[in-house]
């Protein structure tokens, strides 16, 4: 974990309200593990104080990138920043995905919307290729198909409006695939919380291992403020654990969904 002022190399629109931002950060890039995030201070954002967390999307040489959606104050200002401008980042943060061992499980990745961003490094660093299931509301919410195809991964798409791939939720093609065969496979998911809960439930029903990357509001990003906690099973009960430190990636069996409500 380092705090650094980094320079933007590029910041370009991907589809619709999604952008790809590349920064040069030579000291940070060698430390990055799949599923970790960067806590970004958007320096021109003057009327808001806090950093914003983003999954680290890709690493190339001395640069890393994030793939973000313009959803509010901070990401709006971010989307107008240009190459050469500076950001402050604290990265890499959090406990990421377990990269499958060579000859180990076949990874099945499940992503919703910008959840795809958390998945790419895992796919790239996994010794065996697998399938990535990606869902979204509309065609424009389906990100990175080409990036995954370029590293030899099969991409299966589901959109709620049927404008691309199968019509419906991403859990449908996932479930169909697991019913064909679940042996020797492991799930990794990132996306909206209801999707993560559904994937966790499928994993439990089919008895397949599963890691989930959780999305919670964060202040400090480094474990001090206790904003980002989720309920995790402990003994006969549960305890709060920090999404920024013990997470964002948790074993799906450890999450106490029932008490979380």
């Amino acid at each position: 974990m380092l705090e650094q002022t980094v320079t933007i190399v590029s910041n370009e629109r991907d589809t619709d309200q999604y952008f790809r931002l590349v920064v040069r950060a030579p000291q940070i890039t060698p430390l990055i593990q799949p599923g970790q995030f960067a806590h970004v201070r958007i320096l021109p954002l003057k009327d808001a104080l806090l950093r914003r967390p983003f999954s680290i999307f890709q690493v190339a040489g001395d640069t890393f990138s994030i793939l973000y959606k313009n959803v509010g104050k901070g990401t709006e200002v971010l989307s107008r920043m240009r190459a050469g401008e500076e950001l402050s980042v604290i990265a890499p943060l959090g406990h990421g995905f377990t990269v499958p061992a060579a000859g180990g499980e076949t990874p099945l990745l499940v992503a919703g919307g910008y959840g795809m961003a958390a998945m790419f490094l895992l796919a790239q660093r996994s010794p065996q290729t697998g399938i990535v299931f990606v869902g979204g509301r509309r065609r424009v919410d389906i990100l990175c198909e080409k990036d995954f195809a370029a590293i030899g991964w099969e991409v299966r798409v589901a959109t709620e409006d049927g404008s691309h791939g199968e019509k419906g939720l991403v859990t449908q093609p996932l479930l169909a695939e697991l019913k064909r065969s679940a042996v020797g496979r492991k799930l990794f998911a990132c996306g909206p919380t209801p999707m993560l809960e559904a994937v966790g439930k499928i994993a439990e029903d089919i008895a397949v291992a599963c890691e989930l990357s959780m999305d919670e509001h964060m202040c400090c990003g480094v474990g001090t403020c206790l904003t980002c906690v989720i309920k995790v099973k402990a003994g006969d009960g549960w305890e709060y654990q920090r999404t920024c430190t013990e997470g964002p990636v948790f074993d799906s069996r450890s999450i106490a969904w029932e008490v979380a409500k």
Partner: protein
């Protein structure tokens, strides 16, 4: 140039510490800043037993500040000693432990436990947390109850006692005086301000706790006034806090009457804020030819 200050018998090498609850237990930030440069490390509030804290969402960003209702999640005295004390004990700078309870006896018991531990710099009595049902703020708003808590802790320990004041009172002077008379060595002014924010799309409060404490630059001018009023009421030193972002803010608090300052919310977006402030205070002193930082305290011209 002298930057060191005294809070009771506690010596700080410079007047800058961090605010309880914004710096974890120190270790979390040790990879990002050199803790040994601080005047002291102040840790998150601790009561006798572990506390799960409030449901989420626990914080919300607001204009020039944030709301929090963490609910004093913590490991309890034993958990703290086992998990966090070994690291803190090795620091070259003192640790201020923020403590609370739901009864006068609990405050005293926690104070006794930390007295017995040895090596603690000071105890900060949190009688002003707005986010818990019992304990906390009730003790900080009634001079009689406050005096009982402070006196009970005073009897339980020889460690310096810092009473952390609630801003949510019609006048801070009688409470400040009550804490001083009951044996407090210093005051911390101020804790967060009770506040609320609503999501207009869902019509739900932004915090699961419905209300929380407002902190950050939004509260600074109110906190300055509270420090100024408290300083007029007591002789004991004051640690000023509330929205400090830079050296100018820190100096303003000192001029209003603070002997030392604490950096809170600013740690979340810039973990090095306290170090920048120490450097900035030095620059200011050099520029104004001030040789002792204690000259700045209460130097406002009225």
């Amino acid at each position: 140039m002298n930057l060191s200050v005294k809070i009771g018998k506690l010596t700080m090498q410079n007047p800058v510490t961090v605010a309880s609850g914004t710096f974890g237990y120190g270790a979390e930030y040790a990879r990002l800043i050199d803790l040994n440069q601080l005047g002291a490390v102040t840790v998150k509030g601790i009561r006798l037993n572990p506390v799960p804290g409030n449901p989420t969402p626990r914080t919300a960003e607001v204009t020039s500040g944030m709301l929090n209702a963490i609910g004093l999640q913590g490991p309890g005295v034993d958990g703290f000693i086992k998990k966090y004390w070994p690291f803190l004990r090795e620091l070259k700078v003192p640790t201020i432990i923020n403590i609370w309870g739901t009864t006068v006896e609990e405050y005293a018991e926690v104070a006794r436990r930390f007295d017995a531990l040895g090596g603690v710099g000071a105890l900060e009595l949190n009688v002003s947390c707005p986010n818990i049902k019992e304990g906390g703020a009730q003790f900080g708003t009634d001079p009689k109850l406050l005096a009982q808590v402070v006196a009970a802790c005073r009897a339980a320990t020889t460690l310096p006692l810092i009473t952390k004041m609630s801003p949510n009172v019609p006048s801070i002077a009688p409470l400040a005086k009550a804490a001083e008379d009951a044996g407090s060595d210093a005051l911390a002014v101020t804790n967060s301000f009770p506040a609320m924010a609503i999501d207009i799309e869902t019509r739900r409060p932004k915090l699961a706790n419905l209300t929380g404490g407002l902190t950050g630059p939004a509260i600074k001018p109110i906190a300055i006034k509270l420090v100024w009023e408290a300083a007029k009421a007591v002789k004991i030193p004051i640690i000023g806090m509330g929205g400090i972002q830079n050296a100018a803010d820190a100096i303003e608090f000192m001029m209003a009457g603070a002997t030392a300052v604490a950096v809170g919310t600013a740690n979340f977006y810039e973990p090095q804020t306290s170090l920048f402030i120490i450097a900035g205070i030095r620059d200011y002193m050099a520029r104004k030819q001030i040789v002792d930082v204690r000259e700045v305290t209460s130097s406002v011209r009225v």
